[in-house]
Amino acid sequence: MSLTESARKLRRPSGYVPALVVTIAILLPLALTSSWQNILILTVIMAGVATSWNLFGGYTGYFSLGHVVFFGLGAYTTTLLYTTYGIPPVATIVVGMLLSVLASLLIGKATLSLDGHYFALATLGSVIIAQELFAYFEEYTGGPAGIQLAFEPGVTTLMFRNRVFNYYIAVGYLLGVLAITLYIDNRKFGYYLKAIREDEDATKMLGADTDQLKIRAFALSAALSSIGGSLWITYTLFIDPSLAFDLFRSLYFVLYPLIGGLGTIMGPVVGTVLIDPIRAIFSQVFGGSVAPITNMIYGLILMVVVLVFPEGIVKRLRNTYRQWIDRLPTLGADEGANRPSEEQQ
């Protein structure tokens, strides 16, 4: 694309609005106080894992309630390799991904042939199993007492004095997962996954090896979720089984894409950004023990979403967004503001 074409695209609202959003996202942390930065970082990481979940759960319609297992595995792998062997966290990310893939193959083999609610139950069960196993084998995992990671700022440890860097790494992670989602969405793999969600038997009859497709998507999603866990722990620096394998967190990984729109690319991000900060903001503004109130609100939101717009926000508002966008002015109205677009947006 030539420079003038790019410029022309950017001048139209459908071009400059996203560009504006991205710019704000990049500059935002610099304008915030430390505690707001904290909320931002954790939200972005959550968005990344939610998008990873969506790649499997939203696309295939198999609602894994146990994705936190992969998140926790990533976190524990990073923790244990770093504290026991001094391996820089950056390197541990790949190991975490590998272990998560292995775990996903195991869990997937056992659960992917199960019907909808049994699948959900079984994946929930895997969270309990993970929690208990890590609590039981204390000598290896630090058990319920937990492990405190030593804070050693540096690029390879992914720990920074200035949080802004944690933020950029988290954003990088999110963008990476989004890019992968976008890539898959436009290809055979993505089409097949969505077809599985719509009607698995019909899809088989069209030549798709659904068992293999599901396992692949599950493994990919697990690996990506694991990265989120590694990034999370190098930021929060304390881990124990109940934190790493938090059942509620696992539900949120499903809740956010549900609210934002399952199987859409931006849905999980929208859902996370809308809801996740609520919890943090509440406790910031009202003080420590508001967890029950925010959780209750989450529950109400969830119920409302299911009863009122199960297809999620992105799909509901997609047309509204487009209309609104088209009404914005095109910049530099001297040329072609009224020219019908030749390029498809």
Partner: protein, 300 residues
């Protein structure tokens, strides 16, 4: 020495199993008839425990006698819940129902936390710590009550479903909603009654549970998960199976706790749970359908 510890573990394991069977009966009915996974089931257990607790505080009446109040109350709560929350999504895909019940779980558990606070409560009933001696072990009164209730309730429910008209209607609807409707049954009504019944059964469990456990707002989650394990192991909709499965899990947990630890017991029976689900999905034709229905459009 070890022997008597083991015997003690076995006896208490049976009592534990009875409790597990009791909490899963209600779920079994709901899941079996309506094919509906209610994750909030445990929260109702928790609420009924609070109910029994406060009733006892106000009246000083034996919780087992309080069942006369608790059971109808829970039945009504069940009917209301079904009508208000779940009936609207009867035709929605199962996963939506799951999310709805998860939302309900969050709402109920946290509302309880706000209203009752996080502190642990327990019923201190002097005569409840009276023990009976069985095979050289002491077993407390509430635990005996649990065993008795579990068996009696299961048999009563079994009889109800087998021999009463309403019971037959429920079973017919469970087998085929359309079939039952063709015979003039209002399936929505049936579901209201079934859900009410399911929670009424939760009410039955509340008496022994309140006398044995510490009551906190968060106790619901562990109960619901165990209940699902029991229901699946025993066979969906299979009442006697659930009873045996409950005892089995209780024994397993007691014995494993004796020799290893109680946390690992949970890991063990969940693994068992997943294994059973998997095995059934591969050879599902004979058992209740746990795997994805292979609806290749088999015409009849």
């Amino acid at each position: 020495m070890v022997d008597s510890l083991l015997v003690s573990a076995i006896i208490n394991g049976l009592a534990l199993g009875a409790i597990y069977a009791l909490i899963s009966i209600g779920l079994n009915i709901i899941f079996g008839v309506m094919d509906f996974v209610n994750f909030a089931h445990g929260e109702y257990i928790m609420l009924s425990m609070y109910g029994t607790y406060f009733l006892y505080q106000f009246t000083g009446v034996n919780p087992l006698l309080l069942l006369v109040v608790m059971i109808p109350v829970m039945f009504v709560v069940g009917v209301i819940t079904q009508r208000v929350v779940f009936q609207p999504v009867l035709d929605a895909p199962g996963t939506m129902q799951i999310f709805l019940s998860l939302g309900l779980l969050l709402v109920l558990q946290n509302a309880a936390q706000i209203v009752f606070g996080v502190e642990t409560r327990s019923l201190n009933i002097p005569w409840a710590s009276q023990t009976f001696s069985v095979l050289g072990t002491n077993i407390t009164y509430p635990r005996v009550a649990a065993i008795v209730l579990a068996v009696v309730t299961t048999l009563a429910l079994f009889g109800f479903l087998r021999y009463t008209h309403l019971g037959r209607v429920i079973r017919a609807t469970a087998q085929s909603e359309e079939g039952a409707e063709l015979m003039g049954v209002d399936s929505k009504r049936v579901y209201l009654v079934t859900f009410g019944l399911g929670l009424a059964l939760v009410g039955v469990a509340s008496a022994p549970l309140t006398m044995i456990y510490f009551i906190t707002p968060t106790i619901g989650v562990q109960f619901v998960l165990i209940a699902f394990v029991v229901v699946v192991l025993g066979g969906l909709g299979n009442l006697k199976g659930a009873l045996y499965a409950g005892f089995f899990i209780g024994l397993l947990e007691a014995v494993v706790s004796l020799y290893l630890s109680s946390e690992i017991a949970a890991a063990i029976y969940f693994t068992l749970f997943i294994c059973v689900l998997y095995v059934r999905s591969q050879y599902g034709a004979l058992w209740d359908i746990v795997s994805r229905p292979n609806s290749g459009g088999v015409s009849r």
